[in-house]
Amino acid sequence: MNVDLCVRIGSLVLKNPLMSASGCFGYGLEYADIVDLSSLGAVVVKGLFLNEREGHQPPRIVETPSGMLNAIGLQGIGVHRFVREKMPELRRLGAVVIVNVCGSSLDEYVEVSRILSDVEGVAAIELNISCPNIKEGGIQFGCNLSSTHEVVSAVRRVTTLPLIPKLTPNVTSVSSFARAAEEAGADAVSLVNTFLAMAIDVDTRRPKLSNTMGGLSGPAIRPIAVRMVYECAQLVRIPVVGMGGISSARDVLEFMIAGATAVQIGTATFVDPFIWSTLRSGIEEYMARHNVGRVTDLVGSMERWI
């Protein structure tokens, strides 16, 4: 059976629903040796500010049951060096590039987005208003409905690229944030970013991360992320990009059936960097077995118990 894996996010058509999650795949090029970047639905690159950033002191990650905490602190090369040093090669390799945009202020979000809008090969902007690991910006915008509306509207005005605000799960009602983003002109929303969390070394009585707190990702969070994706998909009309602990084709399908049009995979790529082809063939097999012709037919297809 020939199955159709194409999905659409705003004006962007992706050859399949699988994207790398920001911050878990470097700038994509690190993986060019072992993964055909053009075979991914999209490559979402590490969060970028206007300027370079050092990030936090190590230790930056710590493992937890079926998950991990990270407090990288958005170490990065800044948007200018990214455009100069990484984009040419990404274009050459045929990657569909989505840039995760960060900011310490509304102006910075706008400025970075404006710069990227003129760059050939940037396919969409993921607006990171949900990073739990930085002092200013990030989650501050993402935990307040009017700030969310404001920053999305402001960026909307400077770009025609598909705009995908990335939502934090650290709120009472994530779907109201999805709605605010939709109302502000977003083309899609992506979720979840990581859960604010911490771990303490009981012998030293110090946090295991130098930054005290970090973000929880990985299979541990999957059931919460699926619930949130489901809630958002019920409430908004724009596509939802789902993530949080996806590690198998069944997990991808679970998110899509819950309502995700596309998905991102982060932590699981650390465990298996070759996961992409496994996921793709797993989805294809499932579709053949269940006689599903187009992967979009699965989106939001969950039936409730009577």
Partner: protein, 271 residues
């Protein structure tokens, strides 16, 4: 060469002591491509706990009768749940092994000497290094420290390959009583300045720092194998950073899985 991921069969698991074992894995593609100082990432379970792979230096590159590389071994110290699973592995089990990863040691050739300095499980990268240096006929010494004589392994193996051993134990049961930096410093002192040498070092961080400092003081280049907690081993996550000075002398964080794990001691900035 691009790293590969093998579902490697465990060929042997030899326990050296309660805390140390050598795990031999059938991994021809990795064995053929590995250069000394590189590492592999091993999955210790098929489930999600522990979730992440664990990094290990390639200890030996093992060859068949014709000399074709067919297996690697790792020297593994028991410290937590991941290494506990590896300690319990038996011949016939299968483990996902990703590699080779990272930058290897730069090899020095005669007339330069190679001085390896190992603390505890820091011995791990030096078996493979010894074989490569032997192929160049580089004279080698190993300064090797442990808590006790029962924590020193593979001494015969190194001696059989012409490596001169300088041992140290913290309890004085073998070699110098105290840290391995003592015999190293003594040797550096008496080494004529016109005889070139490079220091290779692997071990706990305070030791790396001390040895890099000794190298600096005595004007000897050092190659330091660092150990940071690693999420991916491939440059994806930025977890494994160490601070390094760039050409302009400005320190910044670089990923030790990509730019290391081996760094020039001169470049490393210690916190």
């Amino acid at each position: 060469m691009a790293p590969i991921d093998l579902d490697a069969e465990v060929l042997r698991n030899t326990h050296l002591s309660a805390g140390y074992h050598v795990l031999v894995l059938a991994a021809p593609g990795i064995a053929a491509a590995t250069r000394p100082g590189q590492f592999v990432m091993i999955r210790t379970t098929t489930g999600t706990d522990p979730l992440l792979r664990r990094p290990f230096s390639v200890f030996e590159i093992l060859r068949d009768a014709d000399g074709t590389p067919e297996a690697i071994s790792i020297l593994c110290k028991l410290v937590g749940p991941g290494t506990a699973r590896l300690a319990g592995a038996s011949a016939g089990d299968r483990l996902a092994v990703l590699g080779p990863l990272g930058k290897p040691f730069d090899l020095v050739a005669p007339p330069s000497e190679a001085w390896m300095v190992a603390g505890g499980v820091g011995l791990a990268p030096f078996a493979a290094l010894t074989e490569s240096l032997a192929a160049l006929a580089t004279p080698t010494r190993l300064f090797y420290g442990g808590r006790s004589r029962t924590d020193l392994f593979y001494l015969d193996w190194f001696e059989a390959r012409g490596v001169r051993l300088d041992l140290a134990t913290e309890d004085g049961t073998r070699g110098t009583h105290g840290r391995v930096t003592a015999p190293l410093e003594a040797a550096l002192r008496v080494m004529p300045a016109d005889r070139p040498l490079t220091i290779y070092v692997c071990g706990p961080e305070p030791m790396l720092k001390a040895v890099a400092a000794l190298g600096r003081v005595h004007g000897r280049p050092s190659q330091v194998s660092t150990e940071q907690v690693m999420g991916c081993g491939l440059g994806g996550c930025y977890s494994c950073v160490v601070r390094v000075r760039d050409e302009s002398g400005t320190p910044h964080f670089v990923r030790s899985c990509l730019n290391g794990p081996v760094f020039r001691g001169e470049d490393l900035v210690w916190e």
